[in-house]
């Protein structure tokens, strides 16, 4: 969570990540009549992950909108609503279903502000439950964040825990820029303390979640928890790993990564997305440029393979796991 400078015990409660987003959406709906929720099954059902549970009941069909089954239509009409002054938060049901909306996102949502020389603002949040590890069928486990981060005009974020999920959603909705909000679906049920009064740090700032001296692990979304486990395991072997939760992929907080690497001199980046042209490529390229004389080892990357996300019974092999990350850590330390 972004530096919570104040906290009263009474305003902090333990919440699952999905529930934290639900509460955050509720707060946004309450505090700004222009906020809308849109998507397939977000209304009566409350979303297939129940992230919007109860919102239509409390805010009505005019604010929490079950849409036709058409993702381009969802994003395209959200753009129109934003032009009219609304702040739509749209849900794409699963990662693999965002592509029918890709044209509207890349060509319209991302570029209209620039096209208008700043006259038009499109405060649209596109929520995408993403990533694997839940034993799902095809198209329900992908990590397409690089395909959005490469596109200027979009901001791309992904919380790793309930508290960040709560606050980053608040900030994403308040942002006047379109934000692609990747929700780590396999962490939906993970609980954490959420202080709904804490003043959060900036949305796009990375966070050191564990300090260390020998090597930096960079991750975001679902992989942060894994990296914390890796760091704990490594600690038992006497290795001190620093874990950085990026939180934001565009913009990416290179300053924080650089600061950590200047200290540890070694960097491993972990994400579920395929390594080839994944966000780790950019981090490796840029940090190598920034820290050329500091790095004792090349930046190593652990991620998905250059293959379609495999059937559920193979996902454990496909996804970065404790051993694979430790293996990369060992290799980096061996330089």
């Amino acid at each position: 969570m972004a530096e919570a400078v104040t906290s009263k015990a009474v305003t902090s409660k333990s919440m699952a990540l999905a529930k934290a987003i639900n509460e955050s959406l509720r707060r946004a709906l309450e505090s700004d009549p222009k906020v809308l929720i849109m998507g397939e099954d977000v209304g009566k059902l409350g979303g297939v992950f129940r992230v919007t549970d109860g919102l239509q009941k409390d805010f009505g069909e005019s604010r929490v909108i079950d849409t036709p089954l058409a993702e381009s239509g969802i994003v395209g009409t959200a753009i129109g609503l934003a032009l009219r002054g609304y702040r739509p938060v749209v849900e794409i049901q699963f990662d693999g279903f965002v592509f029918p909306a890709y044209d509207q996102i890349v060509t319209q949502l991302a570029k209209m502000h620039a096209r208008s020389l700043g006259k038009v603002k499109l405060p649209v949040v596109v929520r995408i439950p993403y990533g694997g590890g839940i034993g799902a069928v095809e198209h329900h486990s992908e990590s397409p964040e690089a395909l959005f981060a490469h596109v200027s005009g979009l901001k791309v974020v992904s919380p790793s825990n309930a508290s960040d999920a709560y606050w980053m959603m608040q900030q994403a909705i308040q942002s006047d820029d379109p934000v692609i909000f990747f929700e780590p679906k396999r962490r939906y049920w993970d609980k954490a303390e959420v202080n709904t009064e804490a003043i959060p740090g900036p949305l796009h700032k990375a966070q050191v979640v564990r300090e260390g001296t020998d090597l930096t692990l960079v991750a975001y979304g679902p992989m942060v928890k894994l990296c914390q486990e890796v760091a704990a395991a490594a600690a038992e072997e006497g290795k001190s790993l620093e874990v950085l939760d990026l939180r934001s992929i565009s913009p990416l907080d290179f300053d924080s990564v650089q600061a950590s690497v200047e200290k540890t001199r070694r960097l491993v980046v972990v994400h579920e997305a395929p390594v080839f042209l994944g966000s780790g490529a950019e981090i490796a390229a840029r940090i190598t440029e920034r820290c050329f004389y500091h790095l004792e080892a090349p930046v190593l990357r652990v991620g998905g393979y250059h293959a379609p996300y495999p059937p559920a019974r193979l996902e454990e092999e496909y996804l970065p796991g404790l051993d694979r990350v430790l293996d990369a850590v060992d290799r980096a330390l061996a330089y």
Binding site: K44, V48, G96, P100, Y305, H306, A312, R313, L314
Partner: protein, 392 residues
């Protein structure tokens, strides 16, 4: 201009939509009374005449009628088995076709061997008609593959999960048939929810412009997960076709005879070079969307109960019995056959091996790819390191 003032406008439609949104069925026309609905068998199992479509089932033999009944019963049995296998943890997910047997068996049996079928993820009955071994369908739901049968063995394409995409593949395939000078036809399945996807509209445009021999078979089962059809359209879906320049027809999707007849008619139009047709099979999803879904969150039990009276299997049984086309022995034998099928499926699923880890790297490319090769080698070395060291 506040949000509260929305009510001031009261468009007639919104009001109407609200009241029917999954709460009651009163606002919906009953399929058996809708004059636009092609029906050959009433829910009570009575054969009704239909000037236009009777000819397409005119020569049907008692044997064939029993065959349709058998298809529906075995499909339902298979479906129930899969649902229970999911509950037992043998499958990760199951999308049940319960209630849609007539739509699928009727249309599936209308196809010719050389026709080509593009299903969604729910066409287990159609797969059955095409001769696909039902256990093949379970691989993706078990998570051992993402499909994996050979579509060309039975001219039954892989299941398509991303809604609507397959309607374009079907149209392209049909364009290819025309280029080949063949008289096969294509049938593309999709749901009421899918009708909203741009791809489906584009497939209507392409098939009309190229006069492609394709039948669009929409199973309107009233629901797209939690959304009733009113969230996709405000007029009956079969009417969509007209504005693209080809006919649309609504058939009683719980009437296997009507589905057979209408689909035959549409396929024959396609063969004759008359182009695409949209068939809307008006039916009902009796179960949950998938085993992950809980329909009690969004729809009333009464709706389901009303549709139970229109059960597709029951109605054909009544007809078979009333017309003495099937005797006790037939039903008993079928019951035994059902049991055997259930057992075979159960055993086959349990025996299904997990895929080899290296399968991740297989079939990514037909002609190979250097990066895949490199990653496969790294993976092999990494795997081997555990054999050596026993891991961390």
């Amino acid at each position: 201009m506040t949000v509260e003032s929305t009510a001031a406008r009261k468009p007639r439609r919104s009001a109407g939509t609200k009241s029917t949104a999954g709460k009651t069925t009163t606002a919906r026309k009953s399929p058996s009374t809708d004059p636009q609905l092609v029906q050959l068998l009433t829910p009570e199992g009575e054969r009704v005449k239909n000037a236009e479509y009777d000819e397409y089932v005119a020569g049907i033999t008692p044997d064939e009628l029993r065959g349709l009944y058998r298809d529906m019963v075995l499909t339902r049995r298979f479906d129930a088995e899969a649902t229970s296998l999911q509950r037992q943890g043998e499958l990760g997910l199951w999308a049940s076709l319960l209630g849609q047997e007539a739509a699928q068996i009727g249309s599936g049996r209308a196809t010719r061997e050389d026709d080509y079928v593009f299903p969604t993820y729910r066409e287990h009955g159609v797969a059955w008609c095409r001769g696909v071994d039902p256990t093949n369908l379970l691989g993706m739901f078990r998570g051992v593959n993402n499909g994996g049968w050979d579509p060309s063995s039975n001219n039954f394409h892989l299941y398509t999960i991303v809604i609507g995409s397959q309607t374009l593949h079907a149209t392209g395939y049909a364009m290819g048939i025309t280029k080949d000078g063949a008289d096969s036809a294509v049938i593309a399945y999709f749901g009421d929810g899918a009708s909203s996807q741009g791809d489906v509209a584009e497939s209507f445009t392409f098939s009309a412009v190229y006069n492609a021999p394709v039948v669009f078979f929409c199973q309107n089962n009233q629901w797209a997960i939690s959304e009733p059809t009113e969230k996709q359209t405000r007029v009956p879906l079969y009417q969509r076709a007209q504005g693209f320049g080809f006919p649309g027809v609504r058939v009683d999707g719980n009437d296997v005879l009507a589905c057979l007849a209408v689909t035959k008619w549409a396929l024959e139009r396609a063969r004759r070079g008359e182009g695409p047709t949209l068939v809307e099979a008006y039916t009902y999803r009796m179960g949950a969307h998938t085993t992950s879904d809980d329909p009690t969150k969004y729809r009333a039990d009464e709706e389901r109960e009303a549709w139970e009276a229109k059960d597709p299997i029951l109605r054909l049984r009544r007809y078979l019995e009333a017309s003495n086309h099937a005797d006790e022995g037939f039903f008993a034998e079928l019951e035994a056959e059902s049991e055997a099928l259930g057992k075979r499926v159960r055993e086959a699923v349990r025996a299904m091996p997990d895929p080899d880890h290296f399968a991740i790297f297989e079939n990514v490319y037909a002609d190979g790819h250097a990066l895949v090769d490199e990653e496969r080698a790294q993976f092999a070395a990494y795997q081997a390191s555990f054999a050596d060291e026993g891991g961390h």
